[in-house]
């Protein structure tokens, strides 16, 4: 199996597993779901260290986009906590 297919397959399987677990545990916070999915994506991408430089660059851009979403969630939570005080 090609390395790109292996990577995508691992991403799909992990996402499915995370979504199933979150559904069974009754998770109702979309931010938690998104955060866990982003962390899983970053870990899997880090595991594929042997990608060529062009692919690594493209995946870095995607990671930055997802990480930005994650940072926005963190920032909103901080603002929420600060507001409560």
């Amino acid at each position: 199996m090609r390395i790109f297919n292996r990577y995508l397959l691992l991403l799909v399987l992990t996402s499915c597993l995370i979504n199933i677990i979150l559904a069974f545990t009754g998770q109702t916070d979309i931010e938690v779901c998104f955060t866990i999915l982003v962390i899983a994506f970053l870990i899997i991408t880090m595991l594929f260290v042997y990608f060529n430089p062009k692919t690594r660059q493209a995946l870095s851009l995607v990671s930055i986009v997802f990480l930005s979403g994650f940072m926005v969630i963190v920032a909103l939570k901080i603002i929420e906590v600060m507001g409560q005080k």
């Binding site: 790109f4 996402s15 979504n19 559904a23 998770q27 060529n52 493209a58």
Partner: protein, 245 residues
């Protein structure tokens, strides 16, 4: 186009996910379904990014170019009746790309190579008039240029470099293991996409995978190497390299 399937797959997932996410969140009011839509957008985006990084040339075109190059070299070797095993030279012993030396007669005594081998087809490697060889750029030679860091002499450094080229850059194998014992290097390549064939070219220069491994190993060790054996069994290719000098 080779990146079309990834692009189509990515676009489909991303668009479907982007439409379904607000529907699931605002209309159906289901968090698990929204999470599924979000992961669909994420995988779609990743697939589009992968498509953008794929080379424009198709595997069939690459194979055709490789076969043409091999046919030309094989024709030259057969015409000259050269059947000796090629010696792969490290960068310290040559000028330009990684080369493999095929002796015109007898064997190459690497200890007698004093100067750097020039970038020519017919080269003199020793002082005697009969010390002549054909210098060809093996498939591994160009792969070596793509390495970001030059490999070191240990088995783990060579393994890392071979894995990077064979799996990450060229996607020619599933995994690689390197063992260094005395003057022998044993390389086990699992799931090789190109296999050994008993043809003139492969008998002289080795299979393209063995050639890549030999080019990287000789540069890492800093000594010339020769492919002594290649076995293919149960989706695993075992390559034996002899370190010369």
């Amino acid at each position: 186009m080779t990146n079309k399937p990834y692009q189509m797959f990515g676009m489909s997932l991303a668009i479907a996910g982007a439409i379904f996410a607000p529907t699931a969140y605002f209309l159906i009011n289901s968090i698990p379904l929204t999470a599924v839509a979000l992961s669909s957008v994420m995988i779609g985006g990743t697939s589009i990014a992968l498509a953008a990084s794929r080379p424009q040339i198709s595997p069939e075109a690459a194979q055709m170019i490789l076969e043409t190059g091999m046919e030309n070299t094989a024709a030259l070797l057969e015409e000259l009746g050269l059947s000796g095993k090629a010696v792969y030279l490290p960068s310290a012993m040559r000028i330009g790309n990684a080369q493999a030396l095929i002796p015109l007669n007898g064997d190459i005594d690497v200890l007698r190579i004093k100067d750097k081998i020039p970038r020519r087809l017919i080269v003199r490697w020793g002082e005697n008039p009969e010390d002549m060889a054909i210098a060809v750029t093996a498939p591994g030679g160009t792969g070596l240029n793509r390495l970001e860091i030059k490999p070191g002499p240990t088995s783990s450094e060579i393994e890392h470099a071979v894995t990077y080229v064979l799996i990450g850059l060229l996607d020619l194998a599933d995994s690689v293991g390197v063992r260094l014992e005395n003057n022998m290097v044993t390389v086990e390549v699992t799931g090789p996409k190109l296999q050994y064939e008993n043809i003139w070219y492969y008998r002289c220069l080795g299979s393209p995978i063995a050639s890549i491994v030999a080019s990287i190993a000789c540069d890492g060790i800093g000594k010339p190497v020769r492919i002594t054996e290649e076995n293919y069994r149960q989706h695993k290719s075992t390559i034996l390299l002899e370190v010369l000098g």
